[in-house]
Symmetry: C2
Subunit: 88 residues, 2 copies
């Protein structure tokens, strides 16, 4: 049963994590991220750090793995947005 639960968690993590890849690619390709909310991704990244801690405390491998990767991708999106922002 634990195997089934972990499989669902891993599938969940695979989807929510890989979801960020098209967004990273889209900003990189268009060199534009002005419709991206930096506030969203900053709050989100802070939350992901807490989910990572929650996963460690629950000893949940799916939570630990997916939040570690998601954190890197979310920070990458913020970095790309800042890199391509328009001069005011």
């Amino acid at each position: 049963m634990n195997g089934l639960i972990d499989s669902i968690g891993l599938a969940a993590g695979l989807l929510t994590t890989t979801a960020f890849i098209p967004q990273v690619w889209k900003i990189y390709r268009t060199k534009s991220g002005k419709d991206i909310s930096a506030r969203m991704f900053s709050l989100f990244s802070a939350g992901i750090v807490l989910w990572l801690i929650y996963g460690v405390l629950l000893q949940s491998v799916p939570l630990i793995l997916s939040n570690a990767v998601t954190l890197v991708l979310s920070l990458t999106i913020i970095g790309l947005k800042l890199r391509y922002r328009e001069p005011r």
Copy 2:
């Protein structure tokens, strides 16, 4: 101890969930979501459904609450992006 773990999970969920609100607001305010990756939010929403199931199986209140709200917000972002897309 469980109270502490749940508190961390709830704080995590509060952050990752409220993170979506500025993004919803930004698309609504600018009437533009062209830099938003619909593919990202579709994959993400599918993953959130699985996290919700994972949360139910683990009986994790933070996972259930935050993923239920996040799912609504993520689907709202897709809906707004489609609503404001430019004619080709």
